[in-house]
Amino acid sequence: MFKFIGKRLIQSVLVIFVIITVTFFMVRFAPGDPFSAERKMPEFIKQRLMEHYGLNDPVMVQYANYLKQLVRGDLGPSFTETRSVNQILANSFPVSLELGGWALLIALGIGLPVGVVAAVFRNTMADYVPMSVAMIGICLPTFVLGPILAMVFGVWLGWFNVSGWFVTADRVLPAFTIGLVYAALIARITRGGMLEVLNQDFIRTALAKGVPFGRIVMVHTLKGGLLPVVSFLGPALAGIISGSFVVETIFQIPGMGREFVSSAFDRDYTLVLGTVILYAALITTANLLVDVVQVILNPRLRFEDS
């Protein structure tokens, strides 16, 4: 078990390193520079700035310097803002984390029960109705759902603010915008996984032992039935992150997604790299956790590994 986690940990670090490298060179080789994006500035000032930030050095030297800096936990200065990248991310990351956390909670809180009920009462109204709604949910991307929710609950009903991130109620619309789509997906995956297990021979064995149906669902089915949901959580997290790009734009939330998109537009090299590194770390950590949970849930995997 520990050997397995160790192995995956090394893999994760390697993946993050690859991502850093690819991003670094992609950003450097892209046309343009941080100081030519929008503002016009005299050439000699620009040269000064380039000199100051070490942007005139050979790329490999810059790369080595950046890695050295990174090992110390320093993401460098932002080229477009007066704050450092560390400071910018320290402000915006918690916002995105909170948004993503709520979204995931909504997705699981709605998706899991709906999927389980649909599987248990398959081919009844308790299956058809929520699954049809889920199909609609899947086809409604965040950038459609978000404005619609804002229009209905913000503009027409006036229950929530259409933009901003100040009071607790401001969390509701953005979190549901991202969460509902994943609730729909998780409901479908849960239903499929549960049905797969419910159709197995060992469910019949449990019935023949006189186990009540409730216990069959909770004890005999849930563990295996939720495995596909667990493996979906990795991609779901990546999806929630890209959802946050859109939702933070729509609802004007000062999160990391907005920083990322605008920094890429502005060619703010260090800020781009900083956000990408943080995202990559987040995703690989999540994938690692998913793998571990899977091994815990599925004894057959545990056996193969040891």
């Binding site: 991003t23 892209a30 086809c139 950038f143 229009m151 990546a238 995703i283």
Partner: protein, 306 residues
Amino acid sequence: MLPSRVSPSSEKLPDLGVDLDAIESGTSLWKDAWLRLRKNRLALMSFWVLVFMVLFCFLGPFFTGQDYRTNNLEKTLLSPQAGHLFGTDDLGRDQLTRVMVGGRVSLGVGIIATTVSLLIGVAYGATAAYVGGKADAVMMRFVDVLYALPFTIFVILLMTLFERSIVLLFVVIGAVEWLTMARIVRGQVLSIKQQEFVEAAVSLGYSSGRIILRHIIPNVLGVVVVYATLTVPAVMLLESFLSFLGLGVQPPMPSWGSLIKLGADNIQLYPHLLVIPAVFFSLTLFSLNFLGDGLRDALDPRSSKD
């Protein structure tokens, strides 16, 4: 099964009341699939919705008598009315025409990028499966590594850093979507390779060319068609996502994503700008998903339950 006994008498086979040629060429599979698909009301409806969408978007602009690029600053942000059935946008352009042209872009990107990913994915997956052994392991490991990368982030980076063009959009989206296709095709080819009828064909001494042509391709084709139908909405989603963020097709060229973005910015006063493109976009995504599901059920009757 003894071929020496079967072949000489095959000319004298009694009339079995079935179309032997159809069975031989494998068309009965498709005929059956079509019959099953026709029974699936939802899938059939989706099919006609898609036919309508394609005709509407590709032929429609010839009949509106309007141009999607011509600004008319005297007639901005009109409500739906005679002459402008869907109203006008912020620059006074006819929204009906723009929805049609935006549909051309969205559908076109969907189809072309899917084709690109299809060609790469099928070639890659089939090669890996057919060659097998070490080469297969290395090729699939490469796919695994790519899978671990947070692709949306790279896509956004590429689209912001480099000169945005529709060609880059195709390349970027195709590069993301081929991975799954490669995996699916490889899995399918592998499982077919091991099936008895292929072993039977090998033992009968058929050449590998004939086996690929006669047995493997027809059996992989079903999966490919189904998955391609489901890739188109995924691609359209990605394109609209990028266009929504301003990273996709560039103005004045519209796409459904950028039209939705305009609507989202004006929901307070002009909800029709959001609702109309959102309905077209979502309806198309629905139809593609339902058609894909229906095709899967029709082509693989075993998977149709649950």
